[in-house]
Amino acid sequence: MRGFVKDNALSLFFLVLFLLSLAGQSVAGTADYNARLLAEGGSTVSWAEYVTSSDFAVDVAENWQSEYLQFLLFILATVWLVQRGSPESKEPGKEGRESDHDQQVGRYIEPDSPSWAKAGGWRLKLYGNSLGLLMGLIFVLSWLAQSVAGRAAYNAEQLSQLQDPVSWGEYVASADFWNRTLQNWQSEFLAVLSMVVLAIYLRQRGSPESKPIGAAHKATGVEG
């Protein structure tokens, strides 16, 4: 058990943080939602009602889609684009999908390589893109969930303000949908930009996200 926890400490740490944050969001969200309902002359809802409401769903989904988009773009962009000096980047000259030798496939397969990497054909192709595909799928589904839940929350707001509800098509073309979407995207892109650029010049001793303290600023693709 202790061995399992030690071997998976990083995943478990973020899993616990995720669950605590989601729980905290649900409690704070219930209080905020009830305050708004009372101000509008309505009645309050329970925690259980709030966490199954469109308001909670859209707030969760809009953050999820932007996080998965961020990692999807980071995974795909770093195949083709480099940043000299950044530990987040490959070395200049290695842009692209790389050789079979670099990717340990075909003639260069290892005995302990994943079975789909050894299989070749469509399974190799699918497995070779599986990280981006899954991230992309979760991004698309989260964004779709945001649009559906967002429409429901928006329509409740519209009715409370004595205005007509809108169709799904009207909602995905609305300012509310794009404001929610873009305010999340801009912060994710800024965070990636900061990580890529700051890690050229700054160091964090012991972190694999940083270059070793003594590594040159121009050293690229070196992890500490």
Binding site: G41, S54, V148, A149, A152, N155, L159, S160, L162, S167
Partner: protein, 124 residues
């Protein structure tokens, strides 16, 4: 809550028709009470704020509400989103809010006003 759950599962629909029916019946009961001159009954179907707005001018809700001119008519359609509902009658529109005790009218005798909120005879 219902709207969210159903919308997430089925994609693009509003809330279940049972709630739309309940909201439509509440709107009809309100209009029936007014046309029957039953002010007390009509005011009991209003949200507290809407009842207060009818009272303005020093006149009691039960008395003032029966003097309102609201054409109403048969229910043509209803939509429920969260705890809010819109019921479209033949000649005007009603907005309701769901309370623990059921649907109450928050605005009635409403006419569209372009991109702006509806213009309503009763509004609270």
């Amino acid at each position: 809550m219902c709207a969210a759950a159903v919308a997430l599962i089925t994609g693009l629909t509003g809330c279940a028709s049972a709630e739309e029916g309940a909201a439509g019946q509440a709107a009809q009961r309100f209009y029936s009470a007014i046309s029957a001159g039953q002010g007390d009954r009509a005011c009991a179907l209003l949200t507290p704020r809407a009842a207060e707005s009818v009272e303005s001018g020093g006149e009691a809700c039960a008395r003032a509400v029966t003097t309102l001119v609201m054409p109403g008519g048969e229910v043509r359609g209803a939509e429920v989103w969260g705890d809010e509902a819109q019921v479209r009658l033949v000649r005007d529109t009603v907005f309701l809010h769901r309370f623990p005790q059921g649907w109450l009218v928050r605005a009635a005798g409403c006419r569209p006003h372009g991109e702006l909120p509806y213009d309503c005879e009763v509004e609270g």
